[in-house]
């Protein structure tokens, strides 16, 4: 029999195998999850939890699908957090610091406590990317925040009421659309397609007998 540990789900004690993640421990205990469970692989940010190990003063946060249970772990789920998401038109947005002042002025109320960074389930330097956003440095804000899963834990811990993931989302979209260089080869190819450049050659392929296509496929040149 595998070693068992005590976990306290919403304060109630359960014994679960020590190899389980927090998410699987909840299921093992009998919870049929509806909220607080999404991709189960660390990409969607649905399953953030807050926990404390008995005797430890520090409250920790993590993704339930990516973290193993520990003995005497007290766990509460945070399946939803009311982030502020401002509505904007990406085609009309200003590519300067003023967009941040307009849409997310609260970022300038950051008191530098770094609680966001300490709580980040992805280990990102959240306070730093907010500092970049304050300066309208979309490139660095986008890069620094790139691995964000938008779970919202940082915002839950922020005394200034900042919705960090939404600030970063805005910065990334501005970077991707306006700041990153245009891909000329992409624009050219789309124009060629719109002029029907490949229509005939693909239609010829479509009409070939399967045996002939097999020959073509099995002997096609492969880029090194």
């Amino acid at each position: 029999m595998e070693n068992m540990v005590n976990v306290y789900l919403f304060g109630k004690k359960y014994q679960v195998p020590e190899s389980l993640t927090i998410m699987k421990a909840m299921e093992y205990a009998g919870y049929q999850l509806v909220r607080g469970c999404g991709c189960r692989n660390g990409f969607c940010g649905a399953c953030s939890v807050i926990y404390r190990i008995k005797g430890d003063r520090e409250l920790k946060t993590c993704l339930a699908c990516q973290t193993k249970v520990e003995n005497d772990m007290f766990v509460a789920t945070l399946p939803f957090f009311p982030l502020v998401k401002q509505v904007y038109d990406v085609n009309k947005v200003s590519v300067s610091q003023s967009v941040m002042m307009q849409l997310y002025p609260e970022i300038y109320a950051c008191i530098g406590c770094n609680a966001c960074t300490k709580s980040c389930t992805q280990g990102l330097n959240v306070m730093q990317y907010i500092a970049y956003a304050q300066r309208g440095d979309f490139t660095n804000c986008a890069e620094e925040s790139f691995d964000c899963v938008m779970c919202g834990v940082c915002s839950a811990r922020c005394p200034a009421g900042i919705s960090h993931p939404q600030v970063a989302e805005l910065a990334r979209r501005i970077y991707g659309k306006y700041v990153a260089p245009e891909s000329k080869h992409l624009t050219d190819r789309v124009n060629e397609i719109n002029e029907g450049a490949f229509k005939e050659i693909i239609e010829t392929l479509m009409n070939k007998p399967i045996e002939e296509l097999k020959e073509l496929y099995n002997n096609r040149e492969i880029e090194k």
């Binding site: 189960r40 660390g42 080869h185 693909i202 880029e223």
Partner: protein, 536 residues
């Protein structure tokens, strides 16, 4: 350091010992005949006992896996309900079922066309396989490439079974899909001059895999989600569609919805319905673990089938060659093919390479299964067995820092368990990844047999044939999501919905009884049940 067994550690030493030598050698690709043989002898699609013949419905006599048959021939959730269809709770032009990449793309394009759109999703918008796609998205946009070459790669990789008109659309609309995403603000990996950084995927003959590090799907999904929210398209979340509603002329005209928490029932009337419900990994076909998200339970196939839509290639599934085999906590999770694109090799317990790393997925998966089951060259793991994926090769080929820059999610996922993939190889085994088949559509996205019912994304069958190449799924959800959205945008104004009915559900139930089936299992399944289990 992860707590590996002695046997695993000893095997890892052998992998290290042969690494330098393997770096210099190129493993030969298989011939067409060798591929056919290895598939027939090892691929799970060829295990007859896993399949049964459907007894009712549009594909009666067709072959599907037992788990899917149970749902397609399951009991409708609305049969015992008293539902008043004359007073709809929602009345819209376009009802999109599903909150992933295909549904969001469709909603945005239908909204562009001026339609009144509503999205409904049983979890949240973005809880979808799109979010988890790591490696990339294909498009032939480089000078040495063309949509025709992309067509041949995909057609051959799918065993010459794709519907040509669907594949034509996939490859020809691909560059525009990338451009559309880029203009929405998706951060593709680019060089300083704007050239897209592209790599190979299994079965590609040109380097056309575009990526956003190894968060490609997540970056695309969060951008699409942000755009849906900016447009203030209503998203009814934690609400599932449990049956398609038709009108008395037999056209799709809405859906019965159920609140996942309160179980309240709503009637949504719509001029057009788009099924964008994704895949089926959570059905754990043939006992496989899965890389799919929590809600991947084939709901759209069930909804469509009962409404009279035909299935195409529902018998063929994709088992991704590299699911996590160890550690047990992330058993079955996806290890992106990009790891092999960047140079990591598959290696057996003795440190020997046994397959060219970028064969198509079905062939690579089959060779891993053969290495473990037939040749006994696998390494024992907590949940079964696996082979090594030699990740340190990536840094030797691409230079120090390549892993952190190009596949940060993989570095993080294993790092949480004390495994540094820059220094140690990882253990992998095939995981249930993708539903190759699905509902049969025309190139406008509409079901071949049910008017005004559209399908987009993984719920479609026939785009890829009987196997899908890496990077063609993110592509298909964007191309066919947009396509469905544009198609409904053209027709919704002229549609007049007649009286609503669920008679087709009753008729299907009668057909089940006539066939001697009296199912008790409710379908669609909506969510898996993992309660009281220590492992999946």
């Amino acid at each position: 350091m992860y707590n590996y067994t002695q046997e695993q550690l000893a095997s890892m030493k052998k992998v290290e010992a042969t690494r330098e030598k393997r770096l210099k050698e190129l493993f030969a690709r298989m011939s067409a005949e060798e591929k056919q043989t290895i598939l027939k002898e090892n691929h799970p699609d060829y295990i007859d006992s896993a399949y049964e013949l459907l007894q009712v419905g549009p594909n009666k006599g067709g072959k599907v896996l037992h788990e899917l048959a149970d749902l397609l021939q399951g009991k409708s959730r609305v049969l015992d309900m008293d539902i008043d269809l004359s007073k709809p709770d929602y009345d819209v032009d376009v009802l999109v079922i599903g909150g992933g990449g295909a549904g969001s793309s469709a909603a945005i394009e239908a909204h562009n066309a001026g339609a009144n759109v509503m999205m409904v999703t049983k979890l949240r918008i973005g809880d979808a396989n799109t979010m988890m796609a790591e490696g990339g998205i294909q498009a032939a946009d480089k000078p040495n490439d063309s949509p025709a070459i992309h067509y041949l790669d995909a057609f051959g990789g799918g065993h010459f079974a794709a519907k040509p008109e669907l594949l034509y659309k996939l490859v020809n609309d691909a560059p525009d899909a990338i451009k559309w995403l880029n203009e929405l603000g998706v951060m593709f990996d680019k060089d300083a001059d704007g050239t897209m950084i592209t790599t190979h995927g299994g079965g590609t003959s040109r380097k056309r895999m575009h990526a956003c590090k190894d968060y490609s799907g997540a970056e695309i999904m969060r951008t699409l989600r942000d755009e849906v929210l900016n447009r203030q398209i209503p998203v009814v979340d934690f609400t599932s569609a449990i049956e398609i509603i038709k009108d008395v002329e037999g056209k799709a005209a809405g859906a019965i919805l159920m609140n996942m928490e309160t179980k309240d029932i709503y009637v949504a009337k719509a001029k057009t319905v788009i099924i964008a419900t994704g895949g089926a990994g959570r059905l754990h076909y043939q006992g496989f673990p899965t890389s799919n998200h929590y809600g991947a339970t084939a709901d759209g196939l069930v909804l469509g089938y009962r409404a009279g839509a035909k299935l195409l290639y529902a018998d063929t599934l994709q088992y991704h060659p590299t699911g996590v085999a160890e550690p047990t906590q992330i058993f079955g999770a996806l290890v992106t093919e990009k790891v092999r694109s960047l140079g990591a090799q598959l290696v057996n317990k003795d440190g020997e390479a046994f397959v060219y790393s970028l064969e198509t997925r079905d062939v690579t998966a089959s060779s891993i299964i053969r290495e473990c089951k037939k040749r006994s060259n696998g390494i024992k793991t907590t949940d079964g067995e696996g082979v090594w994926l030699d990740t340190p090769m990536i840094e030797m080929l691409g230079g120090e820092g390549t892993i952190e820059k190009r596949i940060p999610a993989m570095l993080r996922m294993f790092g949480k368990y004390g495994i540094d993939i820059r220094k140690e190889p990882i253990l992998v085994y095939p995981t249930l990844h993708y539903q190759n088949g699905g509902l049969d559509i025309n190139d406008d996205g509409m079901c071949t047999t049910v008017p005004n019912l559209f399908v987009a994304g993984e719920a479609v069958g026939g785009i890829h044939g009987r196997n899908r190449l890496m990077g063609n799924s993110l592509l298909d959800i964007i191309v066919f999501g947009r396509n469905a959205g544009k198609s409904v945008g053209k027709i919704y104004k002229d549609i007049v919905v007649k009286e609503l009915t669920l008679d087709h559900v009753k008729a299907f139930d009668a057909e089940l009884k006539n066939a001697g089936l009296n199912p008790t299992k409710l379908s669609p399944q909506l969510l898996p049940n993992y309660t009281k289990q220590a492992s999946i």
